[in-house]
Amino acid sequence: MVRALADRAFLPTKSVLEQVGDMMILTGKTIWSALRPPYPYGGEFVNQFLFALRLCWLPLLISTVAISYGAPGLQAGNFLVLFGALDRLGGFFVLTSIREFGPSVTAIILAGVAGTAITADLGARKIREELDALQVLGVDPVKNLVVPRFLALMIVTALFDIYAIIFGIVGGMLATVSFGAPLGPFFSTLLTNASVTDLWGSVAKTTIYGAIIAIVACYKGMTASGGAEGVGRSVNQGVVITFLGIFAFNYVFTQTLLATHPEISIIK
């Protein structure tokens, strides 16, 4: 009885800790084999890069325009209209689009679209024992499959962040226009409040998001087991872990950035 209860509490915790440890080891191995010659992953890198680009451009476009038109655009716009200061919406978009929603929505879409596709792909190969076959042939799966995905997702996520910021600002423009206000003041407060620190913070953050997405997706794909339901299950677990990991990291990063760079939160 006591033993069963203890097992019930202990075993899930143990498996979570083991998985986190395994992912850390995979990260270390990936970085090590990315840096160490030879470099056979060029072609696969280009393929994965284009794959993520082709899959994500439309979902990301729709999502960023929708979220920034609704959340910061309409809500904050409504609030500012009460004070007759709608021109300040541009300054607010530095906070929302560049610092928060741009990176977060990019991460959500990349994790939900590209990350799940990678897990499904690698999981299918694992189930069909292709990964074992590769190893038998002397091809290192980490170097040839994980490294290109890791590098491609880091770069593509950082680049998509810029894309998300641009379309986030388009959402803000739509909101401004829907209040019947001119766009000039919006851009003027946007550009006076935007700072280089905000932009590099945003891009640095999304680069690390990309790394998290790639590692979790590859790990879950390569450890899929259990037939038909197994691949689906690993996609499911992978995307849940990615979301929690991304937002936990986001909190720490944003807090550190805001506390160590007080100049970015001064309104100009």
């Binding site: 729709i62 929708a66 959340a71 939900g112 849940v240 909190y251 939160s265």
Partner: protein, 264 residues
């Protein structure tokens, strides 16, 4: 795989998905699902035990996020005592619905595809039909009913988790406003209709996610690989759907009326 694969996929399957959703909703609405009420209760139990904690966890993390952004923003406009406005609006109206939608899509949506898809692949759905059990009622409608029974409560508790996190971030962590001062502003800037609107938004997302998940699982094909691909595809449609529903909800409920206790 070309640049237009995703939109072409959506357009091609839009009619199918709409038809499927209509049929499942009709099964629940007409009460035929109550033949399998036990199964619906079992699904509700699975939902409570399996998914609530991660949903609250994500709501909590995003509530912390709202809290610190609000605290720094209101400090920068020289009114740190007003961090409550930002927290109240950010949590209740926008971020908690999104957090709920994201985690529903990730945990419940893909879980449904994996589960029902595996049944389709191993011919269990055909076996159900052969035994004279309507598989759509037994598998899809019961899950929708379970979601409708359980999720409003899960959602309201998620709002609570977000509020708690914002309180911790603003009052305990940043500490520029007293607890009483925070709550005065915080409660002044929201009222029960806001909670109801937020709940409607969250439930619309949840309904969409359950239906899309059930559709992709029910129509999965192509072996174990097919289940994985269907799971990934359902996620694409779900994350976009969550954002679109969120935007429409904001536009409908708060677009023309800020519902703020300021001015006339």
């Amino acid at each position: 795989m070309t640049w237009l694969t995703v939109p072409r996929d959506w357009i091609a399957s839009f009619g199918e998905i709409a038809k499927f959703c209509g049929r499942v909703i009709a099964l629940v609405w007409s009460g035929r699902v109550f033949v399998f009420f036990g199964e619906a209760l079992r699904q509700a139990g699975i939902l409570i035990l399996g998914s609530t904690l991660v949903i609250w966890g994500l709501a909590f993390i995003l509530g912390l996020q709202c809290g610190i952004e609000g605290a720094y923003f209101s400090r920068s406009v020289g009114a740190p005592a007003n961090a409550g406005v930002f927290s109240a609006w950010c949590d209740l109206r926008e971020i908690i619905p999104y957090a709920f939608g994201y985690m529903m899509a990730a945990k419940v949506g893909t879980g449904l595809v994996a589960e029902i898809g595996a049944m389709r692949i191993s011919d269990e759905i055909d076996a159900l039909e052969v035994m004279g059990i309507s598989s759509m009622t037994f598998l899809c409608a019961t899950r929708l009913l379970a979601a409708w029974m359980v999720l409003p409560f899960v959602y309201i508790a998620a709002i609570g988790a977000g509020f708690l996190a914002s309180y911790i971030a603003v009052v305990q962590q940043i500490g520029e406003v007293s607890s009483g001062g925070f709550f005065l502003i915080f409660w002044m800037f929201q009222n029960p209709p806001d909670l109801l609107y937020s709940l409607i938004k969250g439930m619309a997302m949840a309904t969409l996610i359950v239906l899309v998940g059930a559709y992709y699982g029910y129509t999965a094909s192509g072996g174990p690989v097919g289940v994985g691909t269907a799971t990934a595809k359902s996620m694409v449609l779900n994350v976009v759907g969550v954002h679109v529903v969120g935007m429409l909800g904001t536009q409908v409920f708060w677009g023309a009326n800020p519902r703020a206790p300021i001015g006339g």
